[in-house]
């Protein structure tokens, strides 16, 4: 009998544990020549805000050793455009749709969640709390446990849909934030978002990115991401979505053994749009070879 890749994530039933990392797969349409959205266990969309965001000036991208920096600045066309353009497209594929939400204030997060909860095509939310927080004092929402809990709690009030909170790795102790948002009503945690980094053009004598600082992703960050998944798994009961540098089935399995219920692929898509397919096939092969019937047998097994 062939092994099962199916997993449950909060109330979401996924046929496989492979998801696109928010912001690397747009709203699904762009990769269509290579990936049908229903290949994924669920689609996680690019961040959606209450109103359109312009994003940062270019250059927005710099390559680094086994990684890349991005400073897109969460450019997005806003929730209304998302409803009229992206949702009808995704509806066709009958795949769970998790909408990643960004906001400049707690109220904005809640407003987007409330607006989208009316739409049956939306299966859940992922809160990107790594945006710089303007109203609440200029700190990022995701680095202060109280603020992170507050965002989670406010969104919790306006929706019954599964609520995933995406954790920032730029913190002293990720488990503190994880526990705070668990207590505030999150159903699932995803991690990691990008690590803050910089690259300098020595000829031009200035940072490569117009925004100076950007978010590091790709294989370079995998050890940090794995460590954080492993640590958070010990401290919370919630299911975890692991991500950060996955470019092979073996990478994905590392995250699952660290404790992830599902994993997301971001930067890896850019170098190989057929990666999700390969990762799914590779996990299946591993389960067969190692005589594992389903993923729960190995989830968190590296905890010892």
């Amino acid at each position: 009998m062939s092994p099962s890749l199916a997993v449950e994530l909060a109330d979401l039933k996924l046929k496989n544990p492979i998801l696109p990392a928010s912001g690397t797969y747009g709203y699904g349409r762009e990769f269509l020549p290579f990936i049908k959205p229903d290949l994924w266990g669920a689609v996680i969309t690019k961040g959606v805000a209450l109103v359109p965001w312009t994003g940062n000036p270019p250059p927005r991208i710099a390559e680094t050793p086994s990684g890349m920096l991005n400073a897109i600045g969460l450019q997005n066309p806003g929730v209304e455009h998302f409803i009229t353009e992206a949702l009808p497209f995704l509806r066709e594929y009958q795949v769970p749709v998790v909408v990643n939400i960004v906001g400049r204030t707690i109220a904005e997060y809640a407003a987007v969640a409330e607006r989208l909860s009316e739409h049956p095509e939306v299966s859940g939310f992922e809160l990107n709390i790594s945006c710089p927080n303007v109203k609440e004092g200029g700190i990022a929402f995701g680095t202060d446990p109280q603020v992170a809990a507050a965002v989670t709690g406010e969104v919790r009030k306006v929706t019954k849909l599964p609520l995933i909170v995406k954790l920032s790795p730029n913190v002293t102790d990720v488990t503190v934030i994880a526990q705070a948002v668990e207590a505030a009503g999150a159903d699932c945690l995803s991690l990691i978002n990008t690590l803050q980094g910089m690259a300098i053009d020595i000829k031009k004598r200035r940072p490569i990115l117009a925004n100076q600082i950007g978010g590091l992703s790709g294989p370079a960050v995998k050890p940090v991401a794995l460590r954080m998944v492993w640590q958070v798994y010990q401290k919370v009961k919630l299911p975890l979505i692991g991500m950060g540098g996955i470019i092979s089935a073996s990478d994905a399995l590392e995250f699952i053994m660290a404790g992830a219920s599902a994993v997301a692929i971001g930067t890896g898509l850019f170098r190989d749009p057929s990666l999700p397919e390969k990762v799914i096939a590779g996990i299946e092969r591993f389960l067969v070879e190692e005589k594992i019937a389903n993923l729960s047998e190995i989830r968190g097994i590296a905890q010892g």
Partner: protein
């Protein structure tokens, strides 16, 4: 848009760090248009370089499944590509981007190439001329020095009028390519201009075009990650806001482009 493996049939050193890469590849030559590009995975070994490299399509021929690229070694990605041997396989994503669109009414077109901006312009001229276009093409081709002027014999075979320019005067006239374009344009006005090259050149071309009120197109460059429009990493500033060079571009209407 395809993800395909390509066999290197030739990796010809053109001198001064330039290479002509001839590839045997399915799908892409059938779908390609002049002005489009491909994302090239320069190596199959390891993680590095992580990202693919965007390279313009220089020539393509569906009948022979052939695709040609011209590139310059400027960093580690192009350096690795320069070292690949015939018979080796590389992976491509393409064709990507929108491509040029020259109005049928254009009678006299200026093609303005700076350095390694030449390949897509050749692609454009070749396809139109082979299709029997009556348009008169003039190539203004600027580079630092003689060895940076590539494939002049191919251009000559197209019977395009060439205005070569080098910074050091080692071939053609000394000076900026935009100067010779401007002079020619003043004498016998062009009714369309297409430019690809470094940003200062594009800016100067835009200025002349706007000042003399002729339409045209610019092919833009940007650091890219996905190449397919998903990551929003490659935008350039336009009158309609930030636009993706890999989807809405690389070719933009000359009047649309703004600069940071």
């Amino acid at each position: 848009m395809y993800q395909v493996k390509a066999v290197i049939t030739e990796n010809k050193f053109l001198g001064a760090g330039y290479h002509l890469l001839n590839l045997l590849v399915a799908e892409i030559p059938e779908a390609a248009k002049p002005g489009q590009f491909v994302q090239v995975r320069v190596t199959t070994e390891g993680n590095e370089p992580l990202l693919s490299r965007p390279i313009s399509i220089y020539r393509y021929d569906a009948a022979s499944s052939s695709l040609a690229l011209v590139f310059k070694v400027v960093g580690k990605g192009t350096d690795l590509l320069a070292k690949r041997n015939p018979g080796e396989i590389i992976e491509l994503l393409g064709p990507l981007g929108n491509g040029f669109a020259i109005p049928e009414t254009a009678k006299r077109v200026a093609l303005i190439a700076g350095g390694v901006g030449m390949p897509p312009l050749y692609c454009l001229a070749e396809k139109l001329i082979r299709k029997g276009s009556k348009t008169e093409f003039n190539l203004f081709y600027g580079a630092r020095t003689k060895s940076d002027l590539l494939e002049l014999s191919a251009w000559e075979r197209l019977k395009v009028k060439i205005f070569p320019m080098t910074d050091d005067g080692s071939y053609g006239k000394a000076g900026l390519v935009t100067e010779s374009f401007q002079k020619e344009h003043e004498q016998t006005p062009f009714d369309f201009v297409v430019a690809c090259g470094p940003q200062p050149m594009l800016k100067a071309v835009q200025q002349i075009a706007l000042a003399t009120n002729i339409p045209g197109q610019l092919s833009m460059e940007a650091h890219m990650a996905c190449g397919v429009g998903a990551c929003l990493g490659c935008v350039c500033k336009t009158k309609s806001g930030y636009q993706r060079v890999c989807v809405e571009g690389p070719v933009f209407e000359i009047s649309e482009v703004l600069w940071e």
